[in-house]
């Protein structure tokens, strides 16, 4: 195992992020955002802002080019559809001057009616997915469990906000961007600006987290490019925390009505789900939030019927957030499975084993590693025994253990993906890719794969990535796919280089007769204070199938990060919206409560290396998203185990415990 290659740069502060870029003559931009959730702009007057000394360029619907955005909207639209929607932008000699200039922009709004939640939003057409006859199976089932679960809007809050530095080098736009997909940004920005892709270069050397919210091009990149063009100077546009929490995505709120039909022995005969999914004002693209997917795959069941209904509201747009859809659905499905186990007086793991799925039922294909989920159950079970005796609490403190499983459609990787490897003398080599390292340690893992194929120690192998000028295509880092996509390409390039001194590798196709999944399980132990409603997480055990583990420390980092974020989702994180005004009240890190170091439990990472050679020739799969998926359900199940109180609405705030 080797330590992170970029570790010393990060620790010493020399790693350069998008906001660290300083170019000669660089300006700083700020964006004016709508204070209303829905309004027509009657007038924008930027005259006073333009006159402020230090202001170099101002954009608004009054002067911006007509660039279409989202579905049927514009870069600067005359209608704003959520509080935080872009109204105007200023580039100035300093951020402070830009801020001052924003205050000088006069806007007259005509307020329009708005919707703020799942109940008052406009509902889209239901997306129906069926296998077998769930309604009939439910009528005939020996046991039926029917419950409604809800999940909240959660904010990504990556440490590094969205942003870029845009510079024109002649007719070529260079974007230093904080993104999970440099090629996605290149093609989207080129299209919006009417440029050939070859005239846009996107660079991402380091990233302070994205969690899904940085897998598409957002407006700021094009705004910065336009301002830079007008001003004739480079422009840096970094979002502040409030904008970050209003305008560039969040995990959608859901309400899921779940019906499970089963035989008395626990065999599932029917799963029927109706899911409302709050999308917000726009559908920005990127990975879909497939809330119903896992209901079709996690358990063997002949009759499954799911309906997913997207609800549009005047709130910021939802976007992919670490295992989009699955984290929300797994809370509901795995809570329901726990309820079913209780109703049948079955051990929760036994119930899951009774319904074990070793093939992808919709595709009718066996999984490449059909037994790995079973293995994860065993690993978690022996690390933290569910059903075993919890240590006794005091008179007002009760302990409980909860269990939850998950699967995930991502992690398997797919073509295309390209890499080059060049030998440098007898005992050195260089890997050249154009993927991005979004903070997960992609550099390190790819170097290890190359070194292994070359037969060199990893410290003799260097790597270049994060720049579209390398003409080697890499996909967006989403779906936990980077390692499983690029790893095989790097391996092939390395094998070729070993033979010929240099070589290029392409990611091959996945097997057509198999389905790839990642999956896992977690158990959470809590101590609940019956008088104050406080929930303390004591221990979390996790085992996830990520195939062969290339670097245990990097895998463990993802497990720790995912669980920590999962505990926040379960306990304390929630976007609070004032429904009467359509305003987010906690678009900041004070009132949006991410977990702190003091909240962290003992984490037992029981993840084992489970090489999946049928998935790809490296045997490795992704681990980025999975660890967040089962945490909330396992925690809610632990609360039930402790108190006999079932929490069906996230987050598990103390008032929900005290009112039960």
């Amino acid at each position: 195992m080797i330590a992170r290659i970029e570790g010393p740069e990060k620790v010493s502060g020399s790693a350069r992020y998008a906001c660290d870029v300083r170019l000669p003559g660089q300006l700083y931009a700020r964006v004016l955002r709508s204070p209303l959730p829905h309004a027509r702009i009657l007038r924008v007057d930027t005259t006073r802002a333009e006159r402020l000394p230090g202001v170099h360029a101002v954009l608004s619907s009054a002067n911006a080019p007509a660039i279409s955005w989202y579905e049927e909207s514009w870069l600067f639209d005359r209608t704003v559809r959520f509080a935080g929607d872009e109204v105007a932008a200023v580039a100035a000699a300093s951020e402070e001057i830009a801020e001052d200039a924003l205050r000088l922009i006069e806007v007259d709004y005509e307020a329009l009616a708005f919707a703020s939640g799942l109940d008052d939003g406009a509902r889209g057409e239901p997306a129906l997915k069926c296998r077998g006859d769930a309604e009939r199976a439910l009528r005939e089932a020996e046991v039926v469990l029917e419950q409604t679960y809800s999940t909240q809007a959660a904010l990504h809050n990556a440490l590094e906000p969205h942003g870029c530095t845009a510079a024109w080098e002649g007719e070529t736009l260079v974007l230093h961007e904080s993104t999970q997909g440099i090629f996605a940004v290149r093609s989207e920005v080129a299209e919006k600006l009417g440029l050939p892709e070859a005239r846009v270069r996107v660079i991402t050397q380091h990233m302070g987290g994205g969690f899904g919210a940085k897998q598409i091009a957002w407006k700021h990149s094009v705004i910065a490019a336009l301002l830079a063009k007008r001003a004739g100077r480079p422009v840096q546009l970094i979002l502040d925390r409030e904008a970050e929490n209003l305008a560039v995505g969040h995990r959608n709120a859901t309400r899921q009505h779940v019906r499970l039909g089963a035989r008395r022995d626990g065999t599932l005969t029917a799963i029927a789900v109706h899911a409302l999914v709050q999308a917000g004002a726009y559908l920005p693209g990127g990975e879909d939030s497939d809330v119903v997917g896992t209901y079709h795959t996690l358990y063997r069941c002949p009759n499954v019927r799911t309906e997913q209904v997207v609800v549009r509201t005047n709130t910021g747009p939802a976007v992919a957030f670490r295992a989009p859809g699955h984290a929300e659905a797994t809370f509901a499905l795995e809570s329901a499975m726990d309820e079913l186990a209780r109703a049948l007086a079955m051990d929760p793991v036994e119930l899951r084993l009774r319904n074990y799925a070793s093939e992808h039922q919709e595709k009718g294909k066996p999984y490449t590693s059909p037994e790995s989920l079973r293995r994860c159950y065993e690993l978690v079970r022996s690390a933290l025994r569910p059903g075993g005796a919890a240590a006794p609490g005091s008179a007002t403190k009760r302990r409980g253990i909860g269990f939850a499983a998950h699967d995930w459609a991502g992690g398997g990787g797919w073509p295309p993906g390209q890499a080059r490897v060049e030998r440098e003398g007898e005992d050195r080599a260089r890997v050249i890719t154009a993927t991005q390292d979004i903070g997960t340690g992609t550099r390190t893992a790819l170097v290890q794969i190359a070194a292994e194929a070359l037969g060199l120690p990893p410290e003799r192998v260097s790597i270049t990535l994060g720049d579209t000028k390398e003409a080697l295509y890499s996909p967006t880092s989403a779906g936990s796919a980077t390692l499983a996509t690029l790893g095989p390409a790097v391996r092939r390039a390395a094998l070729a280089a070993k033979e010929h001194g240099a070589g290029q590798g392409e990611r091959g196709e996945n097997r057509k007769d198999r389905a790839i999944r990642t999956c896992g399980a977690q158990a959470v132990e809590v101590e609940v204070d019956t008088e104050t409603g406080e929930v303390r997480v004591l221990r979390v055990a996790a085992a996830h199938d990520c195939g062969r583990i290339i670097n245990p420390a990097l895998v463990e980092s993802q497990v720790i990060g995912g669980i920590t974020q999962g505990l926040g989702y379960a306990l304390s994180e929630e976007r609070i919206l004032d429904r009467a005004r359509g305003l987010v009240l906690n678009a900041n890190l004070e009132e949006y409560k991410v977990q702190t170091a003091a909240d962290l439990a003992e984490l037992i990472n029981a993840t084992a290396s489970l090489p999946d050679w049928e998935a790809n020739e490296t045997g490795a799969k992704g681990i980025g998203e999975p660890p967040i998926i089962p945490t909330a359900a396992a925690l809610a199940n632990a609360i039930f185990d402790a108190l006999g109180v079932r929490i069906r609405d996230l987050p598990c705030k103390r008032e929900r415990l005290l009112s039960s």
Binding site: E531, G533, D578, E591, T596, A598, D599, S659
Partner: protein
């Protein structure tokens, strides 16, 4: 942030002269700067006072005096404060984060503005900012007041204030018309239409120091706080309890002050009365915990705070009972 003039006066007199009108004093800046960034305050002059204010903890025969410029970390770390004014040290240690406690001062902590998200949102013209009505009363009021119904339902955010009140602290103030000392309990007042603030600090007046009287060695105190996470959160509810119990468990002195539940630190008078003269044991503790909730008027989303108060008061009293050691 609106441009402002930054002044570093050489003396308190000079500072006070500068503070009239559109000026704000700056010490730790942990509340002032965010208020300015949010455009809730747009002073023309920012007057640096930190270097002019008394700083540090001074122990004397008649009690302890804490300078307004003393950081929360220094209060928490003072050995004698920890021993004699335990609740105060605990309250300081549970506030904010270590980084904030390193710069935040006692004076600023007592005078900080509410964390109410309607108050902190420049787009909302709430009653406390001179508006017609309180938006929290019918809005998202989970974190708001259950006591002290006033036109504003924000809560006083300080952890230290309940502890200081429980020790019957007084503050020394200095303004254009000279110095005055006032009991902290008088200093905090429910906001009213003509004074939309939780304190009676006058125009141009500065808080110089807080004084806590000495007390018999058998006095025990504790501060307990319920938060939405284990650190970096204002109190959903807090309780500072100061108790003196005679050899036969008789309660000779009791002060209970709640934080995070009213626009000002909230004395639980009924609970104190229930305790005085009684025997510190489970039945009386239960009775006092119930009494602490008397008069509570929860809003739609914060009924749980009443249960929290009851639980925290009960725990605080049990903790003080145990702290007395075996009899």
């Amino acid at each position: 942030m609106k441009p402002f003039a930054y002044h570093r006066p050489a003396s308190l007199e000079e500072a006070i002269a500068l503070l009239g009108g559109a000026a704000q004093p700056l010490a730790g800046g942990t509340d002032l700067v965010p208020l300015m960034k949010a455009q809730l305050l747009a002073p023309e002059r920012v007057v640096a006072i930190r270097a002019l204010l008394p700083e540090g903890v001074r122990h004397e025969a008649q009690g302890v005096t804490i300078g307004a410029a003393t950081t929360l970390n220094d209060i928490e770390g003072d050995a004698l404060v920890r021993q004699r004014y335990t609740a105060l040290a605990q309250a300081a240690g549970l506030a904010a984060t270590a980084q904030l406690r390193n710069v935040a001062t006692l004076g600023g902590n007592l005078l900080q503005r509410p964390r109410c998200w309607y108050f902190r949102d420049a787009r909302v013209h709430c009653w406390l900012k001179g508006g017609e009505q309180c938006q929290a009363r019918e809005g998202e009021n989970r974190q708001h007041a259950v006591f002290g119904a006033s036109p504003c339902v924000s809560v006083h955010p300080s952890d230290l204030a309940p502890a200081l009140l429980a020790f019957e602290a007084a503050v020394r103030l200095r303004g254009p018309r000279g110095e005055r000392a006032v009991a902290l309990e008088e200093f905090f007042r429910l906001p009213e239409a003509h004074r939309r603030s939780a304190s009676t600090l006058g125009q141009g007046e500065l808080l110089l120091e807080a004084t806590l009287a000495s007390h018999p060695p058998e006095t025990r105190s504790v501060y307990l706080k319920a938060m939405d996470r284990q650190a970096f959160s204002f109190a959903l509810a807090g309780v500072a309890a100061v108790l003196r119990v005679s050899a036969r468990r008789r309660i000779d002195h009791a002060r209970l002050v709640l934080g995070g539940v009213a626009p000002i630190p909230w004395r639980a008078h009924a609970a104190e009365r229930a305790l005085l003269g009684g025997e510190l044991a489970a039945p009386l503790i239960e009775q006092a915990a119930r009494a602490a909730c008397e008069g509570a008027e929860p809003l739609a989303l914060n009924g749980f705070k009443v249960r929290l108060v009851r639980a925290l008061v009960k725990r605080a009293l049990h903790a003080l009972d145990e702290a007395r050691g075996p009899q």
